[in-house]
Symmetry: C3
Subunit: 377 residues, 3 copies
């Protein structure tokens, strides 16, 4: 063997070595990727719990909302997980876990629309009916359609939640509940502030949960910039229109930037995201101020938590804002999500309505008596 | 040198290189392992703080419980850390930090049993007496005994906490306190919901804190499935027995899945975990409903926070459920934990009792006057 | 080519290989470093939100404080980010994001000092004026001066916040607000306990946000030990002086260990940190008890939230405690920070005062009417 050959072999080794070094600098091992996702996935569980506290402002519903949240999570996650792992042969890896909790958080948001209108155990029925509907829309968006941009879930989560919920209340039409007075207190609203601010802070873990490791930090920046945009525009618009700040609009609409940026989360830079957030805050606030009462009159049903104002319209807006990047498939995707959600929600509502009206409508005093086992010796 | 030899050397290099590549895909560097543990360890600190809020429902104890929690953490952690690093020569690495906060959280849970029955500064005395007792049981479980399965702390944390606390109240027998009325309010109970739901969400960080990196995600899945099981079974059982949901049973018993799965966390799959969780929820709920009053009558002492119902019985159950995997050493381990905890707790109680009765029993109004330095100019 | 040469080359390869192996064990890839920082950075956002809840105890200010917090974050972060990336050419990486949120949290702390004394929209003006002042001090500490020890922000964050805020109230001198009665409630104070305990738990993410990966765990240990020290000494001192525990002193002063350890976070071991924490708790508690009223009398202005007692003096103390490690540059740094903060704060106050007095002083009842869109159908 001569020197040249040896050098050739040596060089090959060196190239492999240096190449490995370069790759290592820009990548993380598959196990590390899993472990980083563990934390972002857990943050999504955190957010799911906080969605309950975002809706905790009506005094007599406080505990009912928390109960509903943990129940539908516990019913929908195993079901979704079973379908994915048993039927489609996925393994129980972190991506499957995250897809499961994303499905569950969508359901929790949707349930905000008909809180108090159905019996508590009916939420278990809703969970069973929701999972295949959601899975069908997931398939429609990412398998049937090609090239849909929705990494942060504007359509998959937010729009689907809002229109599924709308479908349910259209079928229920529980006037009795809708006319019952709802009192908020200083402290119940303080929980809403807490939930809103922590959701705001956690949002990047939601939008980056499934993106590639090298995109996580830029998604974080883009998400925060969008949320800052919607926070500022919500404040300015509410100040201009109302002179004062309604906390039950403000704490919701400031999150609209996170909802709307969902479809373009990995496609835009921080300043475009800031602009999108400003737009989202304006749109969501206008929905709360004007669309909400108009829609209530037009449809005769009442979206208790304003889900449509935060998740519905801003979700659809987010989908459409990705047209410059992904093309008109976004329109098909948004329209399809709207139709699938509305119809499956309506069917769910019809089925649940047939199961009978609730007696106590999640009212804490009626439904949650403290039996006193621990409040007396 | 001939070509064959060179090829041999080359191959050896290649094998090393490829081997390194394969390893890298399935492993993380020791530093990365430390940094991932940093976050799970911090989550355990998070959980320790939340245990206070899980017990915050009795209006007049609210601030007293929070004070006790941060005090016993600050007293027991440095002591445990000193023993481990100075006496046993461990370094101040992340595993030692996690072992320290796990000891502290066990103490906080135990203190829930005799809240209001001892003076505040006595909690510092309890901390000093607790650390060697806990360390002795830790040695018994993992050094004296061989092959004990308890990665998620069913015995080390939950059972030990419950029976140490029980030992203390058996010695104290402070009737006065036990007969004082305890009022809960809507808002104090809302904090309990918050704490319970966040503990639920954080639980995988507790059970996976010390497992190998490649087991973390499966432990996450198993933990969540167990918690979902106990959430569903608690709801169904309470609905069946009480028709309505007592929030002060529900928010506790839904966590029983996390307690009971502790010993088998790295040994079972998600569906077995789901089944274990269902069983744990049923057992814990039955303890709250039937064992609690019976035990109170039989022993004459009152477990204020229901620690025994959530941590005691479900902890022992978890230990025994690992028998198929670890053998009958689990019985020895559970029985030993029970005896060590009860005796050391009882001795602690006797010593504290000798220090004198409390005057104000952690009552917020009496113990925590706002001196007004900031509430008036 | 002879065997020796080949062996030489082989050895070179082996050294490279083994070297890479050793390095891998002690390092993480740049991408992994970014991703670990993602989580610590997000924790700083978490802490920023919690600072609001630490100040939520005055019933009529609850929502106003939350609103202020999210507004000044949304105004100051993009501004700071724009200056850094556009003017100084930094990229939007995780370090820049963390530097941005550290600037924002400093502003939130500062605003605690003049809460209720300026109109809500004036906080946006303050944000715009704050960013260049803060950036100037940042430049002064780490570019103009050489070798300043302040990895955990004793000066950069805490002292700057306190004296900037002090400058503002010196200029405002809004007596009307300072004499208005401030009522705290059991539940508003429970939020303070929650915020204090979660800030305590999250603190290591703040102090370790920008240190090298291999120092993160030791910074965690040092931070927790300092916080445990200040918790114990605050308890002992308050018990000795007041017999009872004022929650609005205790929940603040227990954090002083985290403030004071900031400058020596990467320079001392756990037991020195514990001692520094004990000292910090004593100093902060004494400030609350004695300096606070004296300073109020001497200056005629009133530090509503006690920012000076937790962040001002303990921040300066932290800077000076690093003299044995970094030399007398610490004195220059602390004095410079004091002067820069006080002057820029005073100028800010003068400008804001010229914009007019507030009508409703962040009072929730006046400023945040619930318009009832969702509390009636």
């Amino acid at each position: 063997m001569n020197r040249r050959k040896l050098l050739g072999v040596s060089s090959a080794f060196l190239i492999v070595l240096l190449g490995a070094g370069r790759t290592l600098a820009q990548e993380v091992s598959p196990l590390a990727e899993e472990l980083f996702r563990y934390h972002r996935g857990q943050d999504v569980f955190f957010m799911l719990m906080l969605v309950a506290f975002l809706m905790l402002f009506i005094k007599r519903y406080q505990w009912g909302i928390a109960l509903m949240t943990i129940l539908v999570l516990s019913a929908s996650f195993p079901l979704y997980f079973a379908v994915r792992t048993m039927y489609f042969g996925h393994s129980g890896d972190i991506v499957t876990i995250i897809l499961g909790v994303v499905a569950a958080i969508t359901l929790v948001i949707a349930c905000g629309m008909f809180l108090g209108q159905i019996k508590t155990w009916h939420f278990l029925v809703v969970s069973v009916l929701f999972v295949p509907a959601y899975a069908f829309n997931e398939w429609f968006l990412f398998t049937y359609l090609k090239g849909v941009a929705d990494a942060g879930g504007s359509m998959l989560v937010h729009a689907f939640a809002a229109y599924f919920g709308f479908g349910v209340i259209l079928a229920l039409r529980n006037k009795e509940v809708q006319e019952a007075p709802m009192k908020a207190t200083v402290h119940s609203v303080s929980f809403v502030w807490l939930a809103s601010m922590l959701l705001w802070m956690l949002w990047p873990s939601f939008t980056s949960a499934l993106v590639a490791p090298d995109k996580v930090v830029s998604v974080m920046l883009v998400t925060y910039m969008a949320l800052m945009g919607s926070t500022l525009s919500t404040y300015v618009l509410l100040s201009a229109v109302q002179k004062k700040i309604d906390p039950l609009i403000f704490t919701y609409a400031i999150l609209a930037g996170g909802v709307t940026i969902g479809s373009t989360i990995d496609l835009v830079g921080p300043w475009v995201a800031f602009a999108i957030g400003i737009l989202a805050g304006v749109v969501s606030t206008l929905c709360f101020l004007y669309l909400h009462p108009a829609l209530g009159k037009a449809t005769g049903v009442f979206d208790v938590m304003g889900v449509h104002n935060l998740h519905g319209i801003p979700g659809i807006l987010g989908a459409l804002l990705a047209i410059p990047f992904a093309g008109t498939v976004q329109i098909t995707a948004a329209a399809g999500t709207f139709i699938i959600a509305l119809i499956t929600g309506w069917v769910t509502g019809v089925i649940v309505k047939a199961l009978g009206k609730p007696v106590c409508n999640l009212d804490d005093e009626e439904c949650f008596p403290m039996t006193g086992f621990r409040t007396s010796a």
